[in-house]
């Protein structure tokens, strides 16, 4: 089985501005991989490259064994980017619709499973920020692609909602292991959710370190108090802030 994502020697520049420099990474099927890095380190550019929106200056990307192009990934943007004129269920099936057939009954079933029952016929503006992000995640999940790309999906949420969303995401993901590439600038979030964490440098982004997170699944929230977790968090913080190692 091909890896969900393979990136080899990827570099990209916008004119003279070099954004990514010689990045290589892998996401195995069913693996949760995070990228942490400072804001503006080219993380969103990486997604645009993987999603086929732009062509890289150098390097190779393959998604599920195929060269990267549009329509191969399930994408969840930073803002929910829901269509305000569509009901929640119509928003959820959007990616399916683009590929051919929308399965609304299945969408309704899923909405109930992720704590949004009764909202199928509502419009996005009637939902809170956290709920809108759940819809955006479900839309990506139901696109039925082998790789889910989540671009700082919780960065706009308040701290409390964010913690709730972590629990929610872990529960759903652990029950439906799908390969995930998750971008964030929140170190704790990356360690809590992932199997593997790549640390990005400032622009032009290179990989400073690849860390394998040593905690099993299902993962409990209490893991953040584990001494090993605290040590890893310290290590990552030092890496990212450039403090002495």
């Amino acid at each position: 089985m091909a890896d969900a994502l393979t990136v080899r020697g990827l570099s990209h520049a916008f004119g003279d501005l070099s954004v990514l420099s010689d990045v290589s990474l892998d996401v195995a099927p069913g693996e949760f991989v995070s990228i942490v890095g400072p804001s503006g380190s080219g993380k969103s550019t990486l997604f645009h490259l993987i999603g086929g929106l732009i062509t890289p200056s150098a390097g190779e990307i393959s998604v599920d064994g195929q060269a990267a192009r549009r329509g191969l990934i399930g994408y969840m943007p930073q803002q929910p980017a829901l269509m305000p004129w569509r009901t929640i269920e119509a928003n959820v099936v959007l990616a399916q619709e683009i590929r051919g057939k929308a399965d609304k009954p299945a969408a309704r079933e899923w909405l109930a499973r992720v704590g949004l029952d009764g909202f199928a016929k509502s419009y996005p503006h009637q939902l809170s920020g956290g709920m809108q992000q759940r819809v955006a995640f479900l839309r990506a999940l139901l696109s039925d692609q082998p790789l889910l790309c989540l671009d700082e999906p919780f960065s706009a949420l308040d701290a409390m909602t964010r913690i709730e969303m972590h629990r929610w995401l872990l529960d759903i993901w652990e029950a439906n292991r799908r390969a995930v590439l998750f971008v964030t600038h929140n170190i704790e979030e990356a360690l809590l959710l992932s199997d593997t964490v790549y640390v990005f440098s400032r622009r032009p982004a290179t990989i400073l370190e690849k860390i394998t997170v040593p905690f099993g699944r299902p993962r409990r929230d209490a893991v953040v108090d584990d001494p090993a977790f605290v040590k890893l968090r310290r290590h990552l913080t030092d890496l990212l802030t450039g403090a002495p190692r």
Binding site: P77, A81, W85
Partner: protein, 249 residues
Amino acid sequence: MTFRRALPPAVTLVLLIAGWQIYTSVSGIDAWLLPSPKGIWDAALLQREALTEHTMATAELTVYGFGAGVATGLVVAVLLHLAPVLRDAVYPLLVISQNVPVIAIAPLLVVWLGFGLAPKIVVIVLVCFFPVAVATLDGLRRSDPMIADYLLMSGANRRQLFTKLQWPHALPTMFSGLKIAATYSVFGAVISEWLGAEKGIGQYMMIQKSAFRADRMFVAIAIVIVLSLAVFGLVVLVEKWTVKGRRRG
């Protein structure tokens, strides 16, 4: 509109008409100069049948003209949106063309197209299509770039980008254009009837003007207002059925 919001303008209107009525009876001003509201109402009742016929003629003309104007506006908007080269070449000229007074070209239209329905429809199209075209074009261009990115990464083609994002996003702005066009359409129909018509409120106005019948002129004005409101109301109704969910901006 809710009753609460409708009340203040209604009260203002009633006060204005009452003031007008009082002024005409106290000042003793001649009725051919400024008729009283009561006098205007009586004039309308007296000519009820003829007025109904004129109103129907103008209403019919308005519907045709408005329909043709909206269709033209939408076609122009979509064409200019899909072909940016065309937009760059045509859009500035379109804006400039709006400075040409319709009243000035109307007689030319009669010379070119004769006295039939054609020049009248063209006049209405000329006043109606522009607000629809500009509003729709703006709506099409200003759709959310984040949703566009999302759709493209999900594999949407150009047609899907248009039908699923740009067109639905343009609907509320398009309706703003339609509302402006709706208020212009009746006025366009009246102007076109000034060119020469057998029936219609515009033609009725021309006759009453030469007879110095101020009361009947006011009746005609009132009918034009009611017709405009009716077309406007129709657009609002269709908007309510069509535009779902809350829109930003």
